[in-house]
Amino acid sequence: MIATEDKRSEYPSDLADLRRIPLADMPMLSEDVLNSALRRLVPAPLTGQVPVAAFNSSI
């Protein structure tokens, strides 16, 4: 295979930089953001959670 000249200045990943998110807020990140961090590490869907807004009158 002949290498194609690559003039990019950087190689972006889909992994979001989460270092500025306080740890206390991490459980509230969207599933997309979390999956971008975890999908290659533990390749399975995040399941078992009901991600939408919960019933107001219970906790």
Binding site: M1, D6, R20, I21, L38, V50, A53, A54, N56, S58
Partner: protein, 851 residues
């Protein structure tokens, strides 16, 4: 209604329609809708059966991963244990193998007793309790019909849930706001009840029936909540508060945790005691009949209900809001507030919330207080930082250097930064999964773990000493632990019970991580820690031997500490520089500062104490942890060695010093990367045949494991070889270089067995460096040593070149993967151009090969 209907995933079952309290602020009985008067008191067996069938068929048809069911009322405990058992068991049976079930009950607690708690423990039912604060605050509204206080009964019920046997059932507390109550006193009184989470509810109101406000206090509800928020924030967020967490989450681009906030679609339906489907019951506050759909479980499916205009209206996000809301700067967090609170006769629900001014003030305040400066920067991150968080990018020059097989300190630094984010996400995911109700209820032994305390401690250290926490989390085997926990937590409960009986002990390690960070940061702590293999282990610090220490393995590597249904627990307290560890067998006291600095109090157990500190290997320009205490280090292809004796440590130190000198002198292109990214060396037990063994695992970024070889040059080769795997593993954490769905096996010249594509890629990348090692050695050596090195160089460059072409021909590389292969090919091409003597036979076993 531009958007299609979503599947319904939350089901509120009104199992009983009456209540044993007569709270004067109750929306069920005191609001506009009075439909309860015509309904049966309790849900019948037939209605239960139909309801469960509808939920199961809906979950199956939409392939839902999970549903949440809330047993509600009235007062659901009035339904009695037998009826509640029928509901819970019927639900669990119908949904087994279909989807996960998050089953909860919300009660006033008055009737809660051990019989109910045993039932909920058996059926995995989380329990939420309503209480409005301290005694006088609670009794302002929450009284029996005869005026008696309910406070003592409710606190008694909460006490039951706080008992170790039932603590895993304790879902949280709901508090309805009355601005006449002292907000801080309310908050503190709830905090004393040690709930896992709290929520403060705005009393239901509409533009027709506005909420009570003190004269001149236009934002009394915001002011009340802001007082609590500030105390909560200053206290390090000691408990989840759903309203505050939702505002923060939505500001970061995440989901709201409550239907009262955010733009997320509602996927909720209520089933009344007579089997009628209703919309959210908060609509009872709007007008008589407002929640009705006209459908019931006997005749209509949940898909039909999902098409009801009232359900659809609450799934439209921004488009479903009035013009005022759509133009509001905080609409993402507010979402127009609770749907019922928007109602006004004439315009219906096309209005801002009657709490609009309060919500605007509260949300603006929370946003302003939760911005966080970037590490090492004084610039504030914008609100919504998570949504806008930049994706990582590796500069092209550094990516190409990595692809060629090298990578300077800056390239390794880029990879390490990405690991930081992944570790935080992993840690959070483990905590979320471990504490999900009723997930925790299904883990034997987990009820005794106080994971919220450990998590709370971690979040406080993250606020006060973020670099200390980052350093502890960067210990390579923290990620090994976290990934293992998450994999186990994601198993279906039945498989988890079979395959991960020691999960509770694993989860308890969260407390050990928090304790290590607290001791390093000088933050007071009290956490529960498992005793693993006879020791209490503190990552990055060492272990306290409290019993007979088992060898790390009995000849076979294993991925976790020995399985145990109920872990042995220790309580670690750190206060006034003193670390106290209470185990079932005794009390141990250690100096916290000495553990961190290696002072006199951290002497090795060999010297007569129970403490075994983590030790280091050092050489000019490098210092690495010699990891021989971490219980999660025994995760490699080869078994980990037991704790090294002093003499063994000295041998390692000598070999490391000589090997490092060779790396700096002969293989200098690899030295900066190693110095920057090699954090730990884990001694392995020598292989029986005496061959050299070394290993890495993908989850342990920064760690290389090896048995001490006979000569130092081989150690240099093992370190270079294995660190190639570390680098490539981190690249693969960041980029997709190949099609992960390709499950073919490939021949690898250095292995007897066939390898998957990633294995071939890893081995090839390592052998680019192996070839380069022998290239340098043949140049530096003379005589027979040079001849041997030359032969190995010639052999491995040909084999590696062939492997590169196998990868290229696989057809499964991504465009970026092809570029990465090009980098390796370029390095080997330069070596192929070098003249070599006629080929010589090679021994079957060569050092530094494999992978």
């Amino acid at each position: 209604m531009g958007l299609p209907a979503l599947p319904l995933r939350q089901f509120v079952l009104k199992v009983h329609s009456r209540c044993d309290l007569a709270c004067d602020h109750c929306y069920v009985y005191q609001a506009a809708d009075q439909s309860w008067r015509g309904r049966p008191m309790a849900m019948s067996g037939e209605t239960i059966a139909w309801t469960v069938q509808r939920i199961a068929e809906h979950a199956k048809a939409h392939q839902l991963a999970a549903v949440r069911v809330v047993l509600h009322g009235g007062e659901p405990l009035l339904a009695g244990p037998a009826r509640l058992r029928l509901v819970a068991e019927t639900l669990r049976a119908a949904l087994a193998g279909v989807c996960d079930l998050d089953l909860r009950i919300h009660t006033n607690g008055v009737l809660l007793d051990e019989e109910f708690c045993e039932l909920f423990a058996a059926c995995g039912v989380g329990v939420g309790i309503s209480i409005d604060g301290y005694r006088a605050a609670n009794d302002r509204h929450r009284r029996f019909a005869d005026g008696r206080s309910s406070y003592d009964e409710v606190v008694r019920a909460i006490g039951l849930l706080r008992a170790p046997r039932y603590r895993h059932l304790y879902a949280g507390l709901l508090c309805t706001i009355d601005v006449a109550n002292d907000p801080i006193a309310v908050y503190e009184s709830l905090l004393e009840l040690a709930p896992p989470r709290i929520d403060f509810l705005l009393p239901h109101a509409t533009w027709d029936e506005p909420p009570a406000r003190p004269p001149g206090a236009a934002t009394a509800y915001a002011d009340w909540l802001i007082a609590i928020f500030d105390r909560w924030l200053a206290g390090g967020r000691p408990v989840g508060v759903r309203t505050f967490d939702s505002i923060i989450s939505t500001a970061y681009g995440g989901d709201s945790l409550t239907e009262a906030l955010g733009l997320g679609p509602s996927d909720l339906v209520v089933v009344e005691t007579d089997g009628s489907y209703e919309q959210a019951d908060s609509l009872k506050a709007a007008f008589d009949g407002a929640p009705a759909t006209g459908f019931d479980v006997f005749t209509e499916s949940l898909d039909t209900v999902g098409q009801h205009p009232g359900i659809l209206a609450r799934q439209q996000g921004l488009a479903g809001l009035c013009e005022t809301c759509r133009a509001c700067p905080v609409v993402t967090s507010c979402g127009g507030g609770l749907y019922a609170h928007r109602y006004r006769t004439g315009t219906g629900f096309a209005n801002p919330s009657v709490y609009c001014a309060d919500l605007l003030k509260l949300i603006s305040h929370v946003h302003s207080r939760t911005r966080r400066p970037a590490r090492g920067s004084v610039q504030p991150a914008p609100a919504g930082a998570a949504a806008a968080s930049p994706a990582y990018a590796v500069p092209a020059a550094e990516f190409r250097a990595l692809a060629a097989g090298f990578g300077a300190a800056s390239a390794i630094g880029h990879l390490a930064e990405t690991q930081d984010s992944m570790r935080r996400a992993l840690l959070s995911a483990v905590y979320q999964a471990a504490t999900a109700v009723p997930g925790a209820a299904t883990i034997p032994g987990a009820a005794a773990l106080d994971l919220p305390a450990a998590w709370g401690l971690l979040t406080r250290i993250d606020q006060s000493s973020p670099q200390v926490l980052a350093d502890v989390l960067a210990h390579p085997y923290v990620r090994v632990w976290a990934a293992r926990c998450l994999e186990q937590l994601r198993m279906p409960p039945g498989e988890r019970a079979r395959s991960a009986p020691g999960l509770a002990a694993d989860l308890g390690h969260l407390g050990a991580i928090a304790a290590a960070a607290a001791i390093r940061a000088g933050v007071g702590a009290r956490v529960t820690i498992p005793v693993l293999d006879g020791a209490v282990y503190l990552p990055t610090l060492g272990r306290l031997v409290v019993g007979p220490v088992k060898p790390p393995s009995d000849g076979e590597p294993r991925l976790a500490p020995a399985a145990a249904q109920a872990p042995v627990l220790a309580t670690l307290t750190f206060e006034a520089a003193l670390v106290t560890v209470q185990t079932p067998g005794g009390l141990y006291e250690l100096s916290g500062p000495d553990l961190v600095t290696g002072g006199p109090g951290s002497r090795d157990a060999d010297a007569g104490t129970a403490w075994q500190p983590v030790r280091s290997l050092t050489a000019p320009g490098i210092s690495v942890t010699l990891e021989d205490t971490d219980p999660y280090r025994d995760c490699h292809q080869w078994p980990a060695a037991p704790r090294l004796t002093g003499a063994e440590l000295a041998s390692w130190q000598h070999a490391f010093g000589v090997a490092w000198a060779e790396i700096r002198q002969l293989h200098s292109k690899y030295a900066p990367g190693l110095a920057a990214g090699l954090h730990a060396i884990t001694p392995l037990s020598a292989a029986p045949a005496g061959r050299d063994v070394s290993a890495t695992v993908r989850q342990a970024f920064g760690a290389v494991a090896a048995a001490l070889p006979d000569d130092q040059a081989t150690l240099a080769l093992l370190l270079i070889h294995e660190f190639q795997h570390v680098k490539l593993g981190a690249v693969l954490d960041l980029y997709d270089l190949y099609d992960a769905a390709d499950n073919r096996l490939f021949h690898a010249p250095w292995r007897d067995d066939m390898r998957p594509l990633e294995g071939l890629l890893q081995g090839t990348y390592a052998h680019v460096a192996v070839t380069d090692f022998w290239r340098a050695r043949r140049t530096a050596a003379s005589g027979p040593a040079a001849e041997t090195a030359g032969a190995r160089f010639a052999h491995w460059r040909d084999q590696t070149a062939g492997a590169i072409e196998s990868l290229a021909a696989s057809g499964s590389l991504t465009p970026l993967g092809e570029q990465f292969i090009d980098g390796m090919r370029g390095s080997i091409a330069a070596m192929l151009a070098e003249p070599v003597p006629a080929s010589q036979p090679l021994s079957a076993s060569q050092p530094g090969t494999g992978g």
